[in-house]
Symmetry: C2
Subunit: 500 residues, 2 copies
């Protein structure tokens, strides 16, 4: 590499890392907001976050960045890694600059209004309070799609923010498969002997729940020297560097499921963040590939591993020691069946592995129709309730348990939901491959030995950052593109034993 | 105000508040560093802090700020408050721009080196490891004094950063008074019947210590809706806005004093921060007047109130309920005497109200000599130990209990220590005035009614921000400038009853 190219690349790295510092500081402010902040702190916290975001945005879309990216375009002597960083940053830059700052600021203001309206609407369980603000948000998202540009459907332009390469053609096919393949599974389950989850619905003391969750995270490979777990109302994972990754969980002393699956799910996200290469801090190759791939990691651990019998052959005796009164007489099979109970429900985040995807399907259909202009915000409540009745056979009794349950739209996050289903399907496909490639995996899981599995995910997914798109990564790891058959095989095999 | 002046002022406010957002975000990152951060997070946290600081510095010293301040200089129609903000910001700007960015960055690098050397030197209790780095730091501080400019002594230039208006002429006089007035007090105490602090040195369970400290903070008027208390190794107060002020404390289950005085001391700082006017966020009038005035608030609460008999007439029965086994049979007088025990000691932060000022005096003499070039870093250990022997009659057995005990110099904070003594003296003077101006204060304190006292401090100190210098503020509040006689009267009266 010539000295000038090296200098230019260093300058590029320096700008990117400065922006990352600001964004990571913002992430800490947001974490603190959910975990620690006293209530009156909200107003100034809001403006502090806005300043950090705008300072980062200025760097990422500024003249200096433009010049250095232009100068590096086609420069000789960059390594493969360096070229990949520059190429992806150029794409990001081109995309970011399509949004004028007046639009960015209008979107940010509408997000505040819309979020506040959502909070109030939830308190009163009245979608009508939220509807006009959401309508304005939808207009802005349609405008954003126009600004980004698209060839087929406006929704494609927004999907790209969360899952580069995903589009409505691909997702239509995925959700058609869901509509075709899952109902027969559900009806077989419905006809079988039902399983009970009552062993979860006992009193479980908070401290013991917490202690066991820490044991599990440690065993999974979460590095508590480079992260921590806290409580928050809604569990989430955030990261300020691969060396400081935070998960949160929630506790319900009358339902152990609340904490247990949150911890394992967020633990999966966190292992991904801790596995990103430190030396690529602030650069595309130091960032997660996509939301779908991120979700593949959380669902891999939560579902494929954490709701699997092998995992519990190791952990259940320990859990029984924490809760002898509650679980001492519950055998492992009963506990295993309970955690895998399938039943249509109203709340997405509490759904089982099968019905979950109808929740996503409903949101996908609605988002696509909203962006396409075929559905209006004012008609959303009816559209939502109709679909829950049609797909899941149950109708929300009120808006909090229906149209108002998710925060995403109030944040302007249209195109986010499909990544939840993609994550599950990638996870099942990765898990099938892991079983092939890691000899003795079953024994390892039963023995509480997770390091080889984590290393396999590190090598196959984590270390690459954004070098590959989701589909490239999936193909490199499994030899084929996303294939929902793996999920169906996983589901069929699992529930055949539970619902015999 | 003309429309242009209004526009200019708004632009000034916007720049200042942007810088404040960045600095407040940095304060949260530092708080998190002390309270939550996992150990491996340190490296990236360091660079994130550096980026936030440099972005704030760029705004505060940039061309935009210069232009708007110049344009506002002498503009017609600004209110008194607006004029005060602009005037102080102009002074700050002129001062900040005297330091070239190459110097700022050299100082920042040396701070990192020096701090790391201090940590290592403490681990090995070996001042020799620290000395060469400190020598280089002193050179930089001498350079900083030259860059700022001074007429009398280089130390004056540095003092100005912490206590505008303070200088060596004023401080020489203050510390001459200490050297003259305190030894007779000490020798009288030495000749009297000694009091014991053994009632503090029992086992006090952590949770009850914590619970009582929260009760005390609430009674003092600390708003837990606009702040919180946490544990950290070294207690401190920080603020991200008047609506989010955080104190930390530390606990020693074998010595209740560790937590109790930390909480009340930091609580005093925190009440000041919560009392700053919200509408002046980011502006001089929304910031604390000086370190000395800040310390006056913490010491007012910790010493004048918190180590006073009236305060404990209210709180002691409650404390006894928390600790019946430990304190049930200890009467209030014994407890009161114990908390006011005077005895020369080696560690500044654990010193009593009388000997404390010799610790500061020693540091003042050393700092002044270092800046003046009469003392070298390599001779510091001897200079330190000699003075402890001379002034306090005890000699540090090792460097950790001697020259390595304070972090300040490793941060380059030369000129900070004197504000601790000034704070005590201002506190005593303010307290004398409060007793005059608040009818029935004694009864209020005995009844646990602190709101009128807090309101008096709010009106006299908090709401003014940096509108007045320390000395102006003192004069407005008490009718005279700093007068150490009030402190001496306070000390004489207090110890006359304890050491009869």
């Amino acid at each position: 590499m010539s000295e000038t190219t090296q200098q230019l690349y260093n300058e590029y790295v320096s700008l990117m890392q400065k922006a990352a510092d600001l964004n990571n500081a913002a992430a800490l402010l947001e974490w603190d907001h959910e975990v620690n902040m006293p209530p009156k702190g909200a107003a100034f916290r809001g403006r502090q976050l806005a300043t950090l975001a705008s300072q980062a945005h200025e760097i990422l879309t500024g003249k200096e960045m433009e010049n250095v990216l232009n100068a590096l375009s086609g420069a000789e002597g960059l390594s493969d890694t360096q070229q990949a960083n520059v190429r992806i940053s150029q794409q990001d830059f081109e995309k970011n600059r399509k949004l004028p700052s007046s639009f960015v600021s209008a979107l940010s203001n509408q997000t505040t209004l819309c979020y506040n309206a959502w909070i109030e609407a939830r308190q009163k369980s009245d979608y009508g309070i939220y509807a006009p603000h959401l309508a304005k948000m939808i207009e802005l998202k349609q405008e954003q799609a126009r600004l980004y540009g698209y060839t087929n459907h406006p929704y494609d332009a927004l999907l790209d923010d969360y899952e580069k390469g995903a589009n409505t053609v691909m997702l239509d096919k995925v959700f058609e498969d869901i509509k075709r393949l899952l109902p027969p599974v559900l009806s077989k389950i419905k006809d079988a002997t039902q399983v009970s989850d009552e062993c979860f619905l006992q009193f479980f003391g908070k401290q013991s729940q917490w202690d066991f969750s820490v044991d599990v995270l440690k065993k999974m490979g979460f590095d508590f020297e480079a992260g921590r777990q806290d409580f928050s109302e809604h569990p989430f994972t955030t990261s300020f560097a691969p060396t400081d990754v935070r998960v949160t969980t929630r506790v319900n002393e009358d339902d152990y499921a609340a904490l247990l699956w949150s911890t394992i799910h967020e633990g999966g996200h966190a292992l991904y963040e801790q596995g990103l290469p430190e030396e690529q801090y602030g650069l595309p190759l130091g960032s997660a590939a996509s939301l779908g791939i991120h979700e593949s990691q959380s669902r891999f651990w939560e579902n494929c591993i954490g709701r699997g019998i092998d995992f519990w052959k190791h952990f259940y005796p320990q859990l029984q020691k924490y809760f002898p009164a509650q679980l001492g007489k519950v055998n492992l099979d009963t506990f295993y069946d309970a955690m895998n109970r399938v039943a249509p429900s109203l709340i997405r985040t509490e759904a089982d592995e099968v019905t979950y995807h109808f929740h996503v399907l409903i949101r996908y259909e609605i988002e696509k129709a909203l962006l396409g202009g075929e559905l209006k915000a004012e008609d959303l409540q009816a559209a939502w309730n109709d679909r829950y009745t049609r797909y899941l056979g149950i109708t929300p009794p009120n808006d909090v348990k229906g149209i108002l349950q998710d925060v995403h739209w109030s944040h302007g996050s249209f195109g986010y939901f499909p990544t939840y289903s993609l994550g599950s399907f990638y996870a099942a496909q990765f898990y099938a491959k892991a079983k092939q490639e890691i000899p003795g995996l079953k024994d390892m899981l039963q023995g509480g030995e997770f390091a080889p599995l984590l290393q396999w995910l590190r090598n196959g997914v984590h270390v690459h950052g954004r070098r590959y798109t989701s589909e490239e990564l999936c193909h490199r790891l499994t030899g084929e593109h996303l294939n929902i058959d793996y999920f169906m095989q996983y589901i069929d095999a699992k529930y055949a034993t539970i619902y015999a």
